[in-house]
Point group: C2
Chain length 407, copies 2
């Protein structure tokens, strides 16, 4: 697998664009991805029972084996969530407008939204915006960057990634873009992720590859513990690489799914790193858990603890809050066999050794916690399962950003 | 039931005191409650599997039907949590010191702690502190206030309450004090609560009355979603009111348990109101839920949402975050039948009516949200169960307080 410079326009036959159409005050607010040929598509969506209208639209579209996808339209000004029956009608209309432009049925269009909840979309603005943006679609690298920028809300940087692999002698490219920021929680987030690939792969195998990625990538990040109404990860595969179609779990499948995992993991970590107001990225590594589920629960509990997140912001080695948050994770383990180590590029420090607190060098701890990337290693003695979760610190800016998000 | 001025020293035969003994830098850090006669005792404790040493000590003491309690000693400088085997020994020694002073066995002493996690207690300081504080014990109102002040950590005010009831012609008094602040979450908190009463009541009935209170009082408050290692609610009943002993669920039991519920609820709301950095108290009322458990889960999910808590701080009527947090509560309900109203002493405003978002007057919303006490009414159409939860806003000061708690 080669990591290359690229994004959603890099795989063969994909165009994209990002534009400002007036849903936000001044920033880009509309993105379109279009494939030259119809795509096999797969999606993962929020577990929140309050699902935004575009999520309900997409679930219907991607669950049908035979339904192919031509394009995706994303607006980042209004989530179209908690918008009643009008919201569903607006998602339908949005799909129809892009379908008419791209010469397909509305069922071949996917729709995504993020932004304020509970306010109906300005449909005139959106419809005119789609019409004026469509002619700008291009397969250039720059267009892919514009699309990645246009899906941002409070994100501070555009998140893209691209890799190349080889299957049956053909070069296959997978590109992706994501937006995260607030409402990021285990089990997805106000997180939108769009992945394009020219791989030829059956619907069944594409679904399998995507579903296998999510539990250890997007479900292992946390910014604030709120699970959004709009979380969406979509993968479009148009087959233009002309590889032998992947239809079973063979070595080709493994090559593809490993690459897809890398794409998802990279974008997920970018979302954690760019959490609203974040000044630090935290990676929590749990080893020695009895089950995979236990390992994931413990790692997620630590990255989600407001108290520990605030301590991290304060660069305070308050490891007791790590053990405390492990304790309310719902997992049964022996606290007197826990070992906790904090690491960064500044060094590492043992804080609890087999249940015994270690009197530690505060100066060294402070030196380690001054770094941006902080690694929390947690060793249990319950078994051999592992998991990693990513999160960020809780800062003044998080409160500021979310205190007046609508204004 | 009469609400009277009073605290833990108001019931007959109870003395208390609060003092500064050097565990903190300058504030009062040690409290003792002593009964003239041995008490029937009941306790509820944290559900965190990492339990502080004093919690483990108390659980053993109160679970035994026959074990009577003479006194409680509380320090608010050091939680004695995550402190390994030395922590257990220190809890034992603490009990022994007070037992020797008060002429009972160490098994008749309860111990509670709050403060920093993962650091061993300065036992010399604590032992000398108990010895110098013991002679100051008094049954005066002021001593009760000093005790309530001495259990505070980042609390901004002392929390006390007292009521009088009559049972079999005898006046019975119940007094209580609590500390809350951070680490407050559904299923208890770094929350300590001590309740004294001169009621004569069997161990079985005292346990029942306490356990029945907790699910709708201390388990329904949230400050930051972290469940502490040290949560403790203790009730001591010394029987000096000389009422006919309450030994079954008759009308006397009902009178007593209603009063105990009031004590718990009042102290729980005080803890939510005084959440770390809080500028507002939020009360979430859920009606029309299918089951009691559903109603509690939804109410707790809303008071725990960081996004909504931040919106409340910003006085932003972002009701979409209310519906969103209901949606990830784990409860199944029909979002298109939900009604949401925000209220305060400034008025009330309908935001979602039967699943339809209402275009509302931003000026009125802003006027309502400027108040300190905000009520969120959520109506479902799933059944007839109700629940209320209390929480606070998420503020810059929460981050500040928890960013450098240890320093």
């Amino acid at each position: 697998m080669n990591i290359i410079k690229g994004n959603v326009t890099t795989p063969k036959g994909f165009k994209a664009i990002g534009n400002f159409v007036g849903l936000k005050k001044e920033k880009k607010d509309l993105a379109i991805i279009l494939s030259d040929t119809e795509c096999t598509a797969s999606g993962c969506f929020t577990q929140n029972i309050v699902k935004a209208a575009p999520v309900l639209w997409d679930i219907e579209r991607v669950k049908k084996e035979k339904n192919k996808i031509k394009a995706v339209v994303v607006n980042s000004g209004n989530a179209n969530a908690c918008t009643g029956t009008k919201g569903m009608k607006d998602a339908d209309t949005t799909a129809e407008v892009l379908a008419n432009l791209s010469g397909c049925k509305k069922e071949n269009i996917l729709v995504a939204s993020t932004g304020v909840i509970g306010v109906n979309l300005s449909m005139d603005t959106l419809i005119n915006g789609i019409k004026s943006t469509y002619p700008l679609l291009s397969d250039s690298y720059e267009s892919g960057v514009l699309a990645a920028e246009a899906i941002m809300t409070t994100d501070t940087f555009a998140k893209t990634v691209c890799v190349e692999i080889e299957i049956s002698g053909k070069k296959i490219t997978i590109g992706g873009m994501a937006k995260g920021s607030g409402m990021i929680n285990p089990n997805m987030a106000t997180m939108l992720c769009f992945i394009t690939t020219d791989a030829k792969i059956s619907k069944e195998m594409l679904d399998k590859a995507l579903y296998e990625c999510i539990p250890d990538t997007f479900n292992m990040i946390c910014v604030d513990g709120d699970t959004s109404t709009n979380d969406t990860v979509l993968v479009l595969a148009n087959g233009l690489a002309e590889n032998d179609e992947i239809t079973e779990e063979n070595s080709d499948y493994k090559t593809f799914s490993d690459a897809l995992f890398y794409i998802n993991k990279t974008l997920a970590i970018s979302c954690a790193k760019d959490g609203e107001g974040a000044t630090k990225l935290m990676e929590v590594n749990v080893t020695g858990a009895k089950t995979k589920s236990d390992a994931r629960k413990i790692a997620n509990s630590v990255v989600s603890s407001n108290l520990f997140k605030a301590a991290l912001f304060g660069e305070d080695a308050n490891w007791g809050r790590v053990l405390c948050s492990m304790g309310y994770s719902g997992v049964n383990f022996n606290p007197s066999e826990v070992t906790i180590v904090f690491k960064s590029h500044g060094g590492e420090i043992l804080l609890m050794d087999n249940g015994t607190p270690i009197v530690f060098d505060e100066e060294l701890a402070s030196h380690i916690l001054k770094e941006h990337d902080i690694f929390i290693d947690i060793k249990l003695k319950e078994g051999s399962e592992t998991a990693t979760a990513w999160g960020c610190d809780l800062t003044y800016d998080y409160v500021k950003i979310n205190g007046d998000y609508r204004s």
